[in-house]
Symmetry: C2
Subunit: 238 residues, 2 copies
DNA sequence: TAAGCTCACTTGTTATAACAAGTTGATTGC
DNA sequence: GCAATCAACTTGTTATAACAAGTGAGCTTA
């Protein structure tokens, strides 16, 4: 009935973290120290540390140690939707930048074709961007843009954010369908976002429509759970 | 430069799952089979399986095997906010029920006191509920209700949902401030929600106000990432 | 002094080994 | 035939062992 050793140890450390014994950024005891403190093998000590990492409470660096993760989140207002990311960031005093990872025409996958109302495997432009907040990786954005706009604005879009660029050229986004969900980091995402495999990530999936009700783009912003949250203030239903 | 063995193996399995070699509910090869197939030790085979589990792609049962997890989500509309959960569920053909875990007066923690605009450590009613969708655990709701309402409706609230109960007695919720974020399952939550430690969970945190602008309750709905998502359809900013 | 090397310490990966505990189906005993 | 037992499978926990690889401090050498 008693929980496994590694759980007992990680729960004890978790309580110490929450009680402030170890503050954000502090180094936790090394695996060797845990082995001696709790009289367990390295496997068990490692498992305990792995539990904390999987709970997002700590992060391990080879050669350095295991450190308590800070938790300071950027808030996004959904009341005024996620179209002018840079301004939202600036308002919260965050230096925002992005790095263009991919920009190329591809055949539309099925879900994208459905969202954009085009034939499957039609040509669309795929753009992948890495968003940085104060220099640190915060989110990956994957956008599928309808072909003619992608071709037309290709050079601009590698340097500027999508919504402002479109708006500047007479294609304002009028309507946005979005879904917020949550997923786990796969191998690629864990590399880009500098989180361990399986870490919790928020997904903001959206389809944007121009003023004539035509779908213009479909994309996902996949962000680190410890750095992002979404807020919404609203009146309830009648 | 090559990734670790356990990553190679779990990535291979992931691709097979995504390609449909293993469908939702299918059993994956046992640890022993993986040992032989890839000529690795059990530790490495276990690590590969652990990677899939941590990514939410599979779930392991002792004595039975490892199975591909199904992904069918219930969608919540935020356009009409999360106040009548039962109707939302019914509309999507889900049998909803809840189990009352805790209902008792407690001293308000600091964040709750701030949200409710009362003095720290004032008395409030704490209610914890386990939401079930088609019988399976889907979310845990933790609500702090202002003292007089908690006392007044205590018997009712153990059997009925909060918002409808309040509305029926002349206390409709007029306004809702909410935040959506994402967290990892700790030991307690992993037990209630039947997910592995560290699994991704969605958190819907809300403060509800009555028609006279007074805060009435503050709570969080913590739901399984593989069973919940939130949707929002809206016009963009001018 | 400054550059470079070495060493001690850290976490990461992997192997072998054993026992615990849950599940399932076959066998045995009544 | 039916029930109880057992054997063979599964994953879970834990120990010991070794080497790889990144970090940083201190020493050595030019």
């Amino acid at each position: 009935m008693s929980p496994p050793l590694h759980i007992s140890i990680s729960e004890k450390l978790r309580h110490q973290i929450e009680a402030g014994v170890y503050a954000a950024g502090d180094r936790l005891p090394s695996e060797h120290q845990l082995m001696e403190t709790f009289s367990v093998s390295r496997i068990t000590a490692r498992q305990a540390v792995a539990n904390l990492v999987s709970q997002g409470l700590a992060i391990a660096y080879r050669g350095k140690g295991v450190f308590v993760t800070p938790q300071k989140k950027v808030t996004y207002s959904l009341s005024s939707p996620l179209v002018f990311l840079e301004q939202d960031m600036a308002r919260q005093g965050i230096a925002f930048s992005f790095e263009n990872l991919v920009f190329e025409p591809v055949a539309a996958p099925r879900d994208v074709a459905v969202a954009l109302g085009i034939a499957k495997a039609s040509s669309v432009y795929l753009q992948k961007k890495l968003f940085r907040m104060d220099g640190a990786a915060g989110a990956v954005d994957v956008t599928y843009l309808i072909a003619d706009l992608g071709e037309r604005f290709a050079p601009l879009l590698e340097q500027q954010m999508t919504f402002p660029t479109l708006a500047e050229h007479g294609i304002p986004i009028d309507c946005l369908d979005s879904v917020i969900e949550c997923t786990h980091a796969d191998y690629d995402l864990s590399g880009y976002l500098e989180v361990p495999l399986g870490h919790a990530l928020m997904v903001y999936r959206y389809t944007a429509y121009s003023s004539d009700r035509q779908p213009v783009l479909h994309g996902s912003t996949i962000s680190r759970a410890d750095r992002f949250c979404y807020s919404l203030s609203t009146r309830a239903r009648a």
